[in-house]
């Protein structure tokens, strides 16, 4: 009788409501992956950071690919803890602009500077992710998904850039950096104008 009572109690135990729609249908981790892939403000800075880390050499690239995703995750947790918090869309434009310009000008930065930049960019974009992501399941899992994409993209891009030897390939990276910086400038213009 007692066992039956426990069974009934367990069956009636309220579960999480999951009122929000699952975007991907594969759970919170993939929602986080999809969120990052479908947010240009985020993947632009990931691409720019990967290119910059690669341009600055092996040591900087190795440090960045650890720090950047971890900072993204930590920023996301902080953002989720403070949510709902108003994060102005304009906040992402300067990071895209700064990292893009550094790639365009091919500045040889020390690993410490690259780590600091990775940390700042990761914390900022992660924070906005955490504060704005509408996830049906566990937020930390979604942030883990987003951070995994950050890690994978940074690793692939930085490794590719580090391995480049021909001069023209480095020029192509710089052109890509100038395009990213130009997008950042335009985004700043859009946002100062008050459009989305």
């Amino acid at each position: 009788m007692r066992r039956a009572g426990i069974m009934v109690a367990l069956c009636l135990w309220p579960a999480a409501a999951h009122a929000h729609l699952v975007s991907t249908g594969f759970g919170a981790f993939y929602d986080g992956v999809a969120h990052l892939v479908l947010t240009p403000q985020d993947w632009l800075v990931v691409v720019a950071m990967g290119l910059l880390a690669g341009l600055c050499g092996r040591r900087a690239a190795r440090a960045s690919l650890v720090v950047f995703p971890m900072a993204w995750f930590a920023g996301g947790i902080a953002g989720a803890a403070l949510a709902p918090v108003s994060t102005p869309a304009i906040a992402t434009a300067p990071s895209i602009l700064v990292v893009g310009i550094l790639v365009a000008f091919d500045r040889k930065l020390t690993p410490t500077v690259v780590v600091v930049l990775s940390c700042l960019a990761g914390l900022l974009h992660g924070f906005i992710n955490g504060a704005t992501m509408n996830v049906s399941g566990r937020m930390w899992l979604a942030l883990l998904g987003a951070s995994t994409v950050v890690f994978a993209c940074t690793t692939l891009l930085a490794a590719m850039v580090v391995s480049l030897r021909a001069r023209w390939t480095r020029v192509m990276i710089r052109v890509a950096g100038s395009w990213i910086a130009a997008t950042g400038i335009l985004l700043l213009g859009w946002l100062l104008r008050g459009v989305r």
């Binding site: 100038s178 950042g184 459009v195």
Partner: protein
């Protein structure tokens, strides 16, 4: 293919298939990107000037061949941002027409100024082009995707110019390149006439 009555029926059905009406205004990221990508190629004044930047860069060789296409999008975006913010710039259309004239003349005359002078000329005209794009933003487009498309479209036009500029490796190529410069200059004169009309 053996044509049977069934084939004709299928073909007829395909021909009669109703197309989407497309009456609603399109919105969203894809539209924003495509609008931005299309914008730099929507006017011959822009096309000629952007291609001329690539032609001149190719003619000047390294480092101008990559320095100009690296500098141009950033300065153009600055002009675009001014346009987006509603900051007026006088004589935009005249500036754009002059850009085609001047850049075309540089290619035609095979002018080789110092890199900073070439950069200053290209950067000065980039402001006008960016401003024109910035003030002609489409409604309901995604800001970031429009910006990406717009920058990529401009960069690809530079790439077209640089690719055409590769003809100078061959002896008649030098003449072809200078003839292209003449075409750009002539286009600039026409657009200046149209702007002043």
């Amino acid at each position: 293919m053996r044509r049977t009555p069934l084939t004709f029926v299928i073909l007829l059905a395909l021909l009669a298939w109703p197309m989407a009406a497309g009456a609603h205004q399109e919105t969203g990221s894809a539209t924003g990107f495509l609008s931005g990508l299309h914008h730099p190629v929507s006017g011959w004044d822009h096309i000629l000037a952007m291609v001329a930047v690539g032609l001149w860069g190719a003619q000047l060789g390294a480092p101008a061949v990559w320095a100009l296409p690296v500098a141009f999008p950033m300065v153009m975006a600055l002009g675009g941002a001014l346009g987006l913010m509603g900051i007026a710039l006088p004589g935009v259309e005249i500036g754009i027409a002059f850009s085609a004239m001047v850049l075309g003349t540089m290619v035609l005359g095979k002018v080789r100024p110092p890199l900073w002078v070439a950069g200053a000329i290209v950067g000065f005209f980039a402001i006008f082009h960016g401003h024109a794009h910035g003030t002609e933003l489409p409604p309901n487009a995604s800001a970031i995707m429009y910006s990406i498309g717009f920058v990529v479209g401009t960069g690809l036009l530079h790439a077209v110019g640089i690719t055409i500029g590769l003809v100078q490796r061959w002896k008649p190529g030098d003449f072809v390149l200078r003839a292209a410069g003449f075409v750009v200059t002539a286009g600039g004169v026409y657009f200046l006439w149209a702007a002043l009309r």
